[in-house]
């Protein structure tokens, strides 16, 4: 009983970790947190990086 519970807890944790990783990857894909991260992502995914240079005025 205990073992089964531990196994299911572990499974839950693994699932949670996978979800978190997937979420992080999605968040990174849509919105990198820094320019360096954007470059790293472009390189890793073999994509071009489009930079929008703007100001608020």
């Amino acid at each position: 009983m205990q073992n089964k519970s531990l196994r299911s807890r572990l499974a839950m944790l693994t699932l949670l970790a996978a979800m978190l990783l997937a979420f992080a990857a999605t968040a990174m894909a849509s919105e990198p947190a820094s320019f360096k991260e954007a470059l790293t992502l472009a390189k890793a995914e073999n994509k071009m990086l489009v930079i929008d240079f703007y100001t608020d005025w």
């Binding site: 320019f35 470059l39 390189k43 071009m48 990086l49 489009v50 929008d52 240079f53 703007y54 100001t55």
Partner: protein, 338 residues
């Protein structure tokens, strides 16, 4: 405008699926350094780089979703760096390379090079002549401010449009307005007369072009008819509804009167009304400068000095206002001494 387009345009959303996108606020945090690194000079500028940060393509301004997406698509299709593209262009020129290099030159404010590459594109792809010619004239317009082109070079390009069978009345009006702006900047407004006349003739009776035509009609009245009353009447007609309650529009009207030495009394009254209505000190100072110039043109140097002093009080950091104040004080001193 682009930020809104990213949220609203499906074309842009689709095009962003193929790239990584980075919003770089050029005035905040690391954005300042990134803008410096890529030598960004105007906004918005879009630069496509590879994973090593090397520039592959770039363009200035947001041209609407379809064209923006076409730039991204072209950038994805040819990922070579700009340096590699230049070498490739020398070996075998293509319209795609010419356009990519022309747009990148525009981003660097190298307008002469942009014109050179857009002309190559026009030669390589005569079907796109209309679009390339518009790009050439736009680059000439910005380049002429820094002296990159003579008026004769600009006129040669404008003649290309005026004599082209493809050119519509709208094209001709656009070219005439652009050439008029450049000629005024170069101190030779008369050079624009043939283009203004031709554009007015081509667009006669076309109501949809009325808003653009009126600026040319004003110039025609001033330069050809030499009829200031008619020009003033047209200028009033060209102003938007409610302009007399809008400080920016009041300043625009008053400055036009000053530039053409027309209707100065009313112009002064309207400028002072603009000063009163202006919501911030920077704008108040700007309009006071207009009012001071008008007073000076009316030989009222004493009042010009007083108004300019107020402008300096409102905007003590603007060197231009101090120079203007010194100019009017000198004139006043000369008058008093003489």
């Amino acid at each position: 405008m682009f930020a809104r387009a990213v949220d609203n345009s499906q074309i842009i959303k689709d095009s962003l699926k193929d790239v990584v996108f980075w919003n770089n606020n050029c005035e905040v945090g690391e954005g300042i350094e990134v803008a410096k690194k890529y030598n960004v000079r105007g906004y918005p500028t879009f630069i496509m780089v590879n994973g090593d940060g090397k520039v592959s393509s770039s363009w200035i301004g947001y041209p609407g979703p379809t064209k923006w997406a076409s730039f991204v698509k072209a950038g994805n299709q040819d990922r070579r760096t700009l340096a590699q593209k230049k070498v490739a262009f020398e070996e075998k020129a293509t319209k795609e390379l010419a356009c990519s290099l022309a747009n990148a030159a525009s981003v660097e404010y190298n307008f002469a090079e942009a014109v050179k590459y857009f002309r190559s594109a026009r030669q390589l792809n005569p079907d796109g002549a209309r679009e390339y010619t518009s790009e050439i004239l736009t680059n000439m317009y910005y380049g002429s401010r820094g002296g990159a082109f003579t008026l004769d070079q600009v006129k040669e390009e404008a003649d290309y449009v005026m004599n082209s069978k493809q050119a519509t009345a709208e094209d001709k009006v656009e070219v005439a307005l652009m050439l008029r702006g450049m000629a005024a900047q170069m101190g030779d407004l008369e050079a624009a007369i043939p283009y203004i006349s031709e554009a007015l003739k081509a667009s006669e009776g076309q109501d949809e072009l009325a808003d653009s035509r009126i600026d040319l009609e004003i110039d025609y009245a001033l330069l050809v008819d030499k009829d200031t009353k008619k020009a003033l009447k047209l200028k009033r007609k060209s102003m938007d509804e409610g302009w007399q309650d809008d400080p920016g529009a009041l300043n625009n009207f008053a400055w036009w009167c000053f530039e053409n030495k027309i209707n100065l009394e009313e112009a002064k009254t309207l400028a002072l009304r603009g000063v009163e209505l202006a919501p911030d000190v920077a704008q108040k100072a700007n309009i006071l400068d207009t009012a001071a110039e008008i007073c000076n043109a009316m030989d009222n140097c004493q009042e010009a000095v007083e108004l300019m002093r107020q402008a300096v009080d409102y905007s003590p950091d603007r060197k231009y206002f101090q120079t203007q104040l010194a100019k009017f004080e000198d004139i006043l001193k000369e008058r008093n001494d003489g």
